[in-house]
């Protein structure tokens, strides 16, 4: 159908996913991702990230709107889209009874790579992700990081122009996370691969993405480069931990007087955060006000705006833990709904 070349690798207009008897998981999002760009799709659990990825990878039909990937309409040209993309979805989708090399053999065969090239291609990718020594071991014995790296290598066997990574570093240790970031950056910079990466980690979006889309409750609430988004916020954030945890509410009332907008945020680790009106200069006033009310402080930190501040500014909630207890995990919900073919 729409086979004409497009400037953007991914173009989404008014994309909606309404589950039968369920929530509107994706509620009319628009976005564009340029070739070679790393686009970070940031949001809490249940925000609609995985549902969006499943629609863009043709595994879930949209309810409304349109999405073109590599110039092909996902709703009508699924096979063409799949030829152009690689995907590592939530959880490394591997067979614990097969070795890394056997996974490569299967994946290269299923993608129709000529027999003569299969082994060379498989070995090359295994080496690239640093799994040569483990390639003949069963995947059931791999660490989380090794599984994720193999998952990434499998997504690349057919040389896709566009790569979808759904929370690729969730649950990984810092070293494995850094190793995966390095490979994703290399793919984008050296191979020109477009990367659509969902994450709930602020630092991941900040470190990797050229541009970030922040999604909450199915809607994109902010979009831009990490630097531009943070610059919009302007004011720094102040995070204070009371010496007496019972005085958190009293402290919150004091800090609210210095807020640049929005309510104070109570973090899980016992601190209270506020976007500080007047920036650094207001610090002394805050300390004096707390002292005047007899509230002792255990620690006090002023930090430059982060993507969490952007999320807070747009939604009134902190990104950290904001999905907990609200909804089921996006992916888990989708899994339940997909078995019913539940497209309303």
């Amino acid at each position: 159908m729409s086979s004409s070349p497009h400037a953007a690798s991914i173009e989404v207009e008014g994309l909606v996913k309404q589950f039968k008897k369920g929530p509107r998981a994706v509620d009319g999002i628009d976005l564009q991702v340029a070739p070679g760009e790393i686009y970070g799709f940031l949001g809490p659990n249940g925000a609609g990230k995985s549902t969006t990825v499943l629609m863009l990878t043709t595994l879930l039909p949209p309810t409304a709107g349109s999405a073109r990937v590599a110039g092909w309409e996902v709703a009508t040209d699924g096979a063409r889209v799949r030829e152009s993309i690689g995907a590592a979805l939530q959880e490394a989708a591997l067979d614990p009874f097969l070795t890394g090399r056997e996974h490569m053999r299967l994946q290269t065969s299923l993608h129709g790579i000529p027999k003569a090239e299969r082994m060379r291609r498989g070995d090359e990718l295994i080496e690239r992700v640093g799994l040569s020594d483990a390639s003949d071991r069963k995947v059931g014995g791999y660490s989380g990081g090794m599984k994720r790296r193999l998952d990434l290598a499998l997504a690349l066997v057919h040389g896709p122009r566009i790569l979808f990574l759904d929370e690729p570093t969730t649950g990984l240790d810092p070293q494995s996370r850094a190793s995966l970031w390095e490979e994703v950056e290399r793919l984008s910079k050296e191979d020109g691969v477009t990367v659509f990466l969902t994450t709930q980690y602020l630092e991941e979006a900040d470190a990797l993405a050229n541009r970030v889309g922040i999604i909450d409750r199915g809607r994109i609430v902010a979009e831009g480069t990490p630097a531009a988004l943070k610059a919009e916020i302007g004011e720094p954030s102040l995070e204070v931990v009371p010496a007496d945890p019972d005085r958190r509410d009293a402290m919150s009332a004091v800090l609210q007087r210095f807020s640049a907008g929005g309510d104070c945020v109570h973090h899980e680790h016992g601190s209270v955060g506020v976007r500080l009106k007047g920036g650094d200069a207001a610090m002394a006033d805050v300390v004096r006000a707390l002292d005047a009310d007899g509230i002792a402080v255990a620690s006090l930190q002023l930090h430059a705006p982060t993507l969490d501040d952007v999320f807070l500014d747009k939604t009134g909630r902190s990104l950290e833990g904001s999905g907990d207890g609200e909804d089921e995990d996006d992916g888990a919900y989708v899994g339940e709904q997909r078995q019913e073919g539940a497209v309303a």
């Binding site: 595994l59 996902v74 995907a87 979805l89 989708a93 097969l98 299967l106 499998l154 997909r338 078995q339």
Partner: protein, 259 residues
């Protein structure tokens, strides 16, 4: 079928085979449990062969048919559990993102189960003959027996596939196992229908499709070639396949709704 599709199916079949071989917990009970039941029945119910009208020369030759049928039940559990695991781990999504056809996906997954079924059939036959059962139809009968075993595991494997695609988790698939065991026991498994005293039990056993499969298997062991019994046994396996193939495809279509 083109070369690419053949390659895809053969590689998926290879994976299915490798995965089956590497799961002793799946292979060992599928061999030992039916043989264990066979040994208990053969020893404990031996006197039943002395009942007037008992058709087999001895009870061992009668009861050897049961392990062949039980292989079908293990096919439901094994194949269903493997497929359910693929769904739970997202491996099915990985396959759905490749150019693999739906037919290729189902047939490729079946290979390991069919191979296990052939192996089970050969072991059961060898153990049965070693224990003293007779196979009147000889080597050609052994070949037909293995073909019938393939038909049985294929048909029952489709039930496992359907359940896995429908429910998407291993526990639900395993839940079918005792249900199917009830079907097994409410058949001519232990005694011919004529010798079942309870009217309701006899009525069920006479019409239970499993009984027709038993008749086909047993016809190869004693009484000489019986085309009708064999046709009915293969017919029941074919009918189960014909019913569950579209159900499996329908469940697959609902599970993998790629555009």
């Amino acid at each position: 079928m083109n070369v690419r599709a053949r390659t895809q199916i053969s590689e998926l079949a290879r994976r299915s085979l490798v995965r089956t071989i590497r799961q002793p917990a799946q292979v060992v009970p599928a061999i030992t449990f039916p043989l264990f039941l066979f040994a208990i029945n053969a020893a404990g119910l031996d006197a039943a062969a002395g009942l007037p009208g008992f058709p087999a020369p001895d009870y061992l030759t009668w009861i050897i048919a049961v392990p062949f049928m039980q292989a079908g039940l293990f096919a439901v559990a094994g194949l269903g559990a493997d497929l359910a695991r693929d769904i739970e781990t997202g491996f099915l999504d990985r396959l759905a993102l490749t150019p693999l056809s739906r037919t290729g996906l189902v047939s490729g997954q079946m290979a390991g189960t069919v191979a296990l079924g052939v192996f089970q059939g050969l072991v059961f036959l060898a153990v049965g003959l070693a224990a003293g059962a007779t196979l009147e139809t000889g080597l050609p009968g052994a070949v037909v027996l293995i073909l019938l075993e393939i038909a049985i595991v294929f048909a029952f494997g489709l039930i496992g596939i359907t359940a896995a695609f429908r429910f998407g988790n291993g526990e639900a698939v395993q839940g079918l196992f005792p249900l199917l065991f009830v079907f097994l026991f409410l058949s001519t498994m232990a005694l011919p229908a004529d010798l079942i005293q309870q009217d309701w039990f006899r009525a069920i056993a006479e019409h239970n499709p499993v009984s027709f499969i038993f008749d086909g298997i047993r016809s190869l062991f004693y009484g000489g070639w019986d085309a009708t019994a064999l046709a009915e046994a293969f017919g029941v396996a074919a009918a189960i396949s014909l019913v569950f193939m579209p159900l499996a495809v329908r469940a697959l279509n609902a599970r993998v709704v790629r555009t």
